[in-house]
Symmetry: C2
Subunit: 344 residues, 2 copies
């Protein structure tokens, strides 16, 4: 069905008719000039993201449902990284003429599914034309008690550096998709064999925001001193924490959590596995620091790995390689003039 | 200066170094995964907008400074239309390679100028690559006491329908710019003569969000029963109010406020002046209803025009033309399959 057959307002009605609100903080959702939210006892947190076709996603191999899910998830991840919970989402989409109502339905199915799983209300939808590619913009409001909020700036000397899940898988998933795209370019029946590599694809195509980790830490009375979402890559995010906390850090190459599928694919692609894990990006895992005294408590938790510790700022930020050498951490995005630098 | 020479994080630092926060509700601005806002005694309002190059603006005649100002202003306008005040803004920009640091400086100069004038804090900036055109996404958080918020749904039978400023000027400004662009296409020294038409250009290029009207109404203890920002056009917005308030309306052609420059240009372009005022769009004036008893009070105010009244839903929504005929109001965006329909 063509979008024009519904009209601008008919389209919004069509996309919103099944939406319900789940949160008491949502006073007014879609249907007015602005949404109205009530945060009288807690703080409101605001995150936003912009995803551009050809930069953040490639529609030749990304299903719209997954793309919607991912767009919402990465917004949620920024809220979880403050030790807060996402509550409201507003989404703006720029679409070209080739988009049908069914395409938009699929995109919003993914967004709504992510919102359901994370109990988030969609409080605004804007659809506009785009002369060229698809463009998705999302802003998320989250909630947390003032004393619960965790910033990037709270890391202290001797704190342990922890990371959830494993790293580099999303990046290897992307490499895999790009390779298959190149191989099958032009062939109509595009059915590459991804058997045994499902995990990598899932990490790239449908990342999960780590609500479970936030809940796990709370259940175990572990209060991180600093926290950040890993979107650009471990090295880059760790340098953010160091800069804002005015500290240095030391992490151990051998402790960086890496899935075996990631390792196998890095080998196949002749890529340095540690570089992939440090700079791959798109992981959306949580990187955080906890006081040294919580060492045993944090080690007992599944899905969290201690990878090093915080030191004085003048000691710098280093990776201790397997052979014992100190390698200065560098965020790809900081100094390179590589055009990929701007892409995340 | 090329953007890559600063790097992703250097660029954000460059753009944010001069920013200060003005509002006590801004607990944490730029520099973490999300902004932290405090709305303990008031409600938080959330609006968002997405502007795409070639759809919402044409960089051949729109200066980046004005574009930044406009992007912020239309977000603020949505907040004012709830009888609330904008407080925080987050901006995401997708830029192509041809963009320089100076270009971004200019764009943000406009955004910052609008924020200063409206006492709004910029609490988030994201810059990303775009394969094609410029794309600006903004989300604004505003503030109002719960009992102060005015929705679209509150209009009652016999209420007066009022509009601020004048209508159609922004649309005529756009026609003027498009005509000059077509005439001067290819010529290097593009200096068209816009003397005497400055008002139309200003309405199109640098619209003002009507904070002054919100303040004026408050000073005069006038509480509208419903309100909406005129972005798509008077007819379309009035139908939104009617639909959500479950009422009808009657407006008088002769009472629609139109600037003389708008009238002259419509004549030159051989356009129906009332159609321009009803459907032109991009006005960002406020449309609102007040109880009939406030008739004298509202008439005494400068810059506000009473254009008709609310009636029963079954009487429909009509314009009474100068010759006394009843013309059903239709929003261009509702039924047309014209491709322009999606463009605002």
């Amino acid at each position: 069905m063509e979008i024009s057959s519904l009209g601008k307002f008919g389209l919004i009605e069509h996309l919103t008719e099944s939406l319900k609100t789940a949160n008491s903080s949502t006073i007014q959702g879609i249907g007015d000039d602005a949404a109205v939210l009530e945060y009288h006892k807690t703080e409101a947190l605001l995150s936003s993201r912009l995803l551009m076709e050809g930069i953040h996603f490639d529609l030749t191999y990304v299903a719209l449902k997954f793309l919607g899910y991912k767009a919402a998830s990465i917004c949620f991840s920024d809220i979880y990284a403050m030790n807060a919970f996402p509550k409201q989402l507003t989404v703006s989409v720029g679409v070209s003429k080739r988009f049908s109502v069914e395409n938009l339905d699929e995109l919003f199915m993914g967004i709504e599914y992510a919102c359901e799983r994370h109990e988030v209300d969609i409080v605004g939808i804007h659809i506009t034309s785009s002369l060229t590619g698809l463009c998705i913009s999302a802003a998320c409001v989250g909630e947390a008690g003032k004393e619960k909020i965790i910033y990037r700036k709270g890391a202290k000397k001797t704190d342990l550096i922890c990371v959830s899940g494993d790293l580099g898988a999303a990046y290897m998933g992307l490499q895999l998709l790009e390779r298959e795209k190149a191989v099958y370019q032009g062939e109509k029946d595009f059915t590459p064999d991804f058997a045994g590599k499902e995990y990598l694809l899932e990490r790239q195509l449908r990342p999960e925001a780590r609500k479970d980790i936030i809940e796990l830490l709370a259940q175990n009375q572990i209060i991180p001193t600093s926290m950040i979402s890993i979107s650009d890559g471990l090295a880059s995010e760790l340098l953010h924490i160091c800069k804002q906390s005015e500290v240095g850090c030391l992490i151990y190459e051998e402790r960086i959590p890496i899935d075996y599928q990631t390792a196998i694919m890095a080998e196949q692609f002749n890529l340095n596995l540690t570089t992939v894990a440090l700079n791959g990006g798109d992981d959306y895992e949580l990187l955080f620091t906890v006081p040294l005294g919580l060492h045993e408590k944090i080690q007992a938790l599944n899905g969290i790995q201690t990878i090093g510790h915080i030191c004085d700022a003048d000691e710098g930020a280093h990776l201790i390689a397997r052979d014992g050498t100190y390698v200065p951490l560098a965020a790809q995005g900081w100094t390179t003039t590589d055009e990929d630098e701007m892409n995340r």
